[in-house]
Symmetry: C2
């Protein structure tokens, strides 16, 4: 849960492999969120893009890339002075898929061929 | 010139420090382009974001981040099989600044104090 914190619907990307964050993103979508934001800075920016792409291509094919913003943060250094580090925010969105699935389940009592079409 | 190639108005980001690519971007804008795209994949994604941010914040304060897209490319491996690598494209745009500068140059024949203001 360390990567799900402070801000709701947000996954903070660190030094773990992309799959750790993919799981965090899927967990947030499964909890009913229709929008999840990945935030990263510095070298973790690449991991954020990897996690977004793996989520969308391998696990949640109905998810879309929403807004992508880049920015700069000033980090105070221990030895004094500041250092600039780049940041990225990637928002993934889905249509409210859980409700759709609920509907499909209700229709399971309809003729089998029709229900099969719904799933296909 | 190695990073300015094939596609027009495009800077391909590799393993050099961000400043190399900042210079390439500024060169393209100085040549009269109002739109320059940075393309990167894998670990170079962070460098692309750095280059875009440094350009916009330090050198061309009238430049804006346009479209940002992310994607995945399949890379064929020598030992057979494919590996997926994430990609990013960041488009920077300006209002047609070169014309403004041309105007300022024409005004150089105006009183010196006024010309100084234009440059400042």
């Amino acid at each position: 849960m360390s990567s799900l914190s402070r801000e709701p619907n947000t996954v903070f990307i660190g030094r773990k492999p992309p799959m750790s964050y993919v799981l965090a993103v899927i967990t947030l979508f499964s909890a009913g969120n229709t929008e999840v934001t990945l935030k990263a800075r510095g070298q973790a920016i690449t991991t954020a893009v990897d996690a977004a792409e793996i989520t969308r291509r391998r696990f949640m094919k109905d998810a879309n890339i929403g807004k992508i913003t880049i920015g700069t943060e000033e980090i105070k250094q221990e030895e004094g002075g500041t250092r600039n580090v780049s940041t990225i925010e990637i928002t993934l969105t889905t249509e409210a898929k859980p409700k759709e699935e609920a509907k499909a389940t209700q229709k399971a009592q309809a003729p089998a061929t029709e229900a099969a079409k719904e799933i296909a």
